[in-house]
């Protein structure tokens, strides 16, 4: 195998495996997401500032952000209305993506409860019964399937229009629920809020930017406390509630002598049965017959996170690794479900023997083999897919195999249940550590990769600066993979943390950066925040917490940011959202919102500065709670030692 160097492409990614594959891409002349971004520059300023509107056929329109050209669209909408409409629709798209994912899980859960599926079962009966009790469903002496049917029916109602609030709103602390009620932003039905957002942003409906944005918060809450939360909870019941597990991460998890299958996308429904199928003795024999030593499953993006959290399946990489993994030349199949799967993967796969297998009827890819997922024949379909991958193995060209570095160990599996178990069954030890200041607070570092930021630089640097300053970091999605690759997610990484957090982590045997799951699992962070607030008898906004999305790109991230802020947690974005064409919208989101929901947005691309901003915010919250607080400098002093991946 040719040796791989990584002295190049550091402005594209901080990760050695990505840099090595970018070299392969350059040598082979294969186009990647970074090339396409460069080709798009300059990107349209109207769109980047949010002041272009394509919502009707009197348009398209745009407003001159300099204030001299047209200031209104044909309908009369000014920059405020246009920006708010566009942001509202982004939130609705993101919330819809999560919620449709949640509905897919719920439907399979409902059918499983009726005994109509193959390959699925109630894996965590205790959680099912806890959830049922929480939802007011009788559990005593009732058969599991009957309880599950009632839970399914109750949650299906959360999608409709016959309720005043979605079921899980009841989990929010009382003062928060009262605030939502006063503001009329309690989410009533998951589908309803999304549909209403599309209605409101039709020409001539909601012409008040603040009113549109308030509904944007309600729409996002229907995701955070609705669709996403349903996805998390029911995935736990169907596939098991995560418990701490150690696995490996980066492209080095691919095996040179095995059939490699990458499971990519977001939904665990099919990938979970593929894990089962890959253990099938007949298929393992077939793999050996084809010359492979075995079948190696690896995860990509959030499907990968779902499998890593529950099964310890090794993680190949996050969003920006999806093209690069194919260039290892060692990938037999990429099985995709939906969300964040670049249309380009089939183009890259054409340069290799890799088969792209699409599985969701709502997400087809020209150039892919489509094997539709059907929960009634889950295992059968899983086997069919694994067989396809095995059959591709003899087509692998050993001359082109380039598997980078050895993988890094990472710990995952920190569901709220697992965190509470690590704490001894009660949040009190964490609360005590926060109270005495050994842990200053906690920050959710979440979100995607974006080629506008050197891959993982934002995640890894921000996370390191926070743990160094005794702030516990909770990660999901691409941010979790980034930190795992940087070695920040093993219990030994406590050495990187400040003295207070280090002692707590060492006492509990946990890393200072806790993997809480996929991007729908950001709801675990909400549940934990609500539990802490309720334990302390305060609202979430009073807690020393913050959110950060240093490298976000997707509409789903917009919905997440909005529900986190609407839940009372101030959030720092690393990439500017398309709102800067409206000073009023910027002022509302970055300032005014604090007086409405007790939290706001900030934008700070530099993770060093974002860390200071977050630390100041946390100390402000500590001070207000009457806890010991520190003065945090407002500017970065000197040149901080770079964080190495």
């Amino acid at each position: 195998m040719k040796s791989l160097q990584s002295d190049d492409f550091r402005d594209r990614s901080i990760q050695a495996d990505a840099q090595q594959m970018l070299r392969v891409a350059r040598d082979a002349g294969i186009e990647t997401v970074w090339d396409r971004l460069a080709a798009q520059l300059p990107q349209c300023g109207y769109c980047a500032m949010g002041v272009s509107c394509r919502n009707c056929a009197m348009g398209p329109c745009r407003v001159d952000p300099f204030g001299e050209g047209p200031q209104k669209g044909v309908c009369g909408a000014d920059a405020d209305v246009i920006v708010a409409r566009n942001l509202g629709r982004s939130i609705a798209a993101g919330a819809s993506a999560h919620s449709d994912h949640g509905r897919d899980i719920l439907e399979v859960f409902a059918e499983t409860a009726r005994g109509q599926t193959s390959g699925y079962r109630i894996a965590d009966e205790a959680k099912l019964r806890r959830l049922a009790a929480e939802l007011g469903i009788a559990v005593d002496d009732r058969p599991t399937e009957e309880v599950a049917r009632d839970v399914a029916d109750e949650l299906l109602e959360s999608f409709g229009t016959r309720r005043d609030e979605v079921s899980f709103v009841a989990r929010a602390p009382e003062p928060r629920r009262q605030l939502w009620k006063r503001l009329s932003i309690t989410p009533r039905g998951i589908d309803r809020e999304n549909v209403e957002m599309l209605h409101r942003t039709h020409m001539g409906v909601d012409n008040d930017y603040a009113n549109i944005l308030l509904h944007g918060l309600r729409t996002s809450l229907s995701d955070g406390w609705g669709g996403s939360m349903i996805a998390t909870e029911l995935s736990d019941i169907l596939f098991g509630t995560p418990t701490p597990v150690t696995s490996q991460v980066n492209l080095g998890v691919l095996k040179g002598d095995q059939v490699n299958i990458a499971l990519h996308g977001h939904n665990p429904l099919l990938s979970d049965v593929i894990v089962e199928a890959a253990r099938d003795p007949e298929l393992m024999a077939l793999a050996r017959a084809k010359g492979a030593a075995g079948i190696n499953l690896v995860g990509l993006c959030c499907t990968g996170n779902e499998l890593l959290m529950r099964k310890g399946v090794p993680m190949a990489g996050n969003h920006l690794m999806q093209e690069l993994i194919i260039m290892t030349g060692a990938l037999e199949a990429m099985v995709v479900d939906y969300q964040c799967i670049m249309p380009s993967v089939t183009d890259v796969a054409k340069c290799y023997h890799t088969r792209v297998i699409s599985t969701a009827d709502k997400a087809k890819f020209p150039g892919a083999t489509h094997i539709p997922f059907d929960p009634h024949h889950g295992l059968e379909i899983g086997k069919q897919i694994v067989r396809q991958a095995i059959e591709a193995f003899p087509n692998r060209n050993p001359e082109r195999v380039r598997i980078p570095d050895a993988p890094v160990s990472m710990m995952a599996g920190f569901s709220v249940e697992a965190i509470l178990a690590a704490l001894g069954g009660t949040p009190e030890p964490l609360v005590a550590a926060i109270r005495d200041g050994s842990v200053r607070g906690a920050v959710g570092v979440v979100g995607c990769n974006n080629p506008k930021i050197a891959q993982d630089y934002g995640h890894v640097t921000l996370t390191r600066r926070l743990i160094e300053n005794d702030i516990l970091v909770l990660v999901t999605g691409c941010a979790a993979v980034a930190n795992g690759k940087a070695g920040q997610m093993m219990p030994e990484a406590a050495e990187m943390a400040g003295p207070g957090l280090r002692a707590v982590c060492q006492a509990l045997g946990i890393p200072p950066v806790l993997h809480m799951g996929s991007c729908v699992d950001n709801t675990r962070i909400l549940v934990l925040a609500a539990a802490l607030a309720t334990h302390l008898g305060v609202d979430i906004q009073q807690l020393p917490l913050a959110g950060a999305a240093p490298e976000w790109y997707s509409e789903k991230a917009v919905a997440i940011g909005a529900y986190v802020v609407a839940s009372g947690i101030t959030t720092v974005l690393g990439v500017q959202p398309p709102i800067f064409g409206s000073r009023n919208v910027v002022n509302l989101l970055a300032d005014g919102l604090d007086g409405v929901v007790g939290a706001r947005f900030a934008v700070e691309p530099d993770p060093e500065k974002a860390a200071l901003l977050i630390r100041r915010h946390i100390e402000t919250k500590r001070r207000a709670l009457g806890l010991p607080f520190l003065e945090v400098p407002s500017t970065v002093t000197g040149t901080p030692a770079p964080v190495t991946a």
Binding site: R10, D11, R12, S13, I14, L41, P42, Q43, C44, G45, Y46, C47, A48, M49, R62, D64, P65, F66, G67, E68, G69, P70, A79, K452, I453, A454, Q455, Y457, G458, G574, V575, Q576, F580, G581, S582, R583, V586, V603, E604, P605, D606, P607, P642, T644
Partner: protein
């Protein structure tokens, strides 16, 4: 002398001038049909990205006088229209030798199949000052499409003077004599600086 003037500070990279230019130089001159034509119409204005992702500059032929391209053209395909002060290429005479591109101070020439002008062959293309439109009393297509005032058309000295006035106001406002910020400019500046900061984060990652 009337010309198209560029206020680069105002360019937000929307590429609408490129689109309008290509349509103006199509056979149909109709945005709905222009892109069905074969060969496709070509733009003669080129917006390139600057040092940061949210900076850009619309580049086109500056119609120099004397024009280096005109001086070196071996077939005398390039000539000046004295009345409108624009440099024009005769596509029938052009032999696509690229001499004009070699000497152009602005790299404003491209080579494509000619849309019209006799037998189809590759010719040098560049801004013709929208001479047909100007003759009809209209402003060039790129100027018409630019809604932020990055491309303006007028008497050169008038345009320079407008810039000088802005500059004067800026200088005086820096001396705290009077505020001059136009409405909205703050948000654009904010957008630009964040974009520049994001680009810096990329380089910072690479600096390690």
């Amino acid at each position: 002398m009337e010309t198209v003037f560029v206020d680069a500070e105002r360019c937000i990279g929307c590429l609408q001038c490129e689109y309008a230019c290509a349509v103006e130089h199509s056979r149909s001159r109709d945005p709905a049909w222009a892109f069905m034509e074969d060969p496709p119409p070509r733009k003669r204005i080129h917006v390139e990205v600057g040092p940061t992702p949210a900076s850009s500059f619309p580049n086109r032929c500056r119609h120099c006088d004397p024009a280096p391209c005109q001086l070196v053209c071996p077939t005398a395909a390039i000539a000046r229209d004295q009345r409108h002060d624009v440099v024009l290429i005769d596509e029938v005479r052009c032999i696509a030798c690229a001499m004009c591109a070699i000497v152009c101070p602005f790299d404003a020439l491209t080579y494509h199949l000619a849309v019209d002008g006799g037998r189809p062959h590759t010719v040098a293309l560049k801004c013709d000052g929208c001479i047909d439109r100007v003759r009809a009393g209209r402003v060039p297509a790129c100027v018409e499409s630019c809604k932020v005032g990055a491309l303006v058309y007028g008497e050169l000295n008038d345009l320079v003077r407008q810039g000088r006035r802005r500059e004067t106001l800026t200088v005086l406002s820096a001396a705290a004599v009077r505020p001059t910020a136009t409405p909205g400019i703050g948000t654009v500046d904010n957008w630009r600086s964040l974009s520049a900061a994001a680009a810096e984060v990329g380089r910072a990652g690479g600096a390690r």
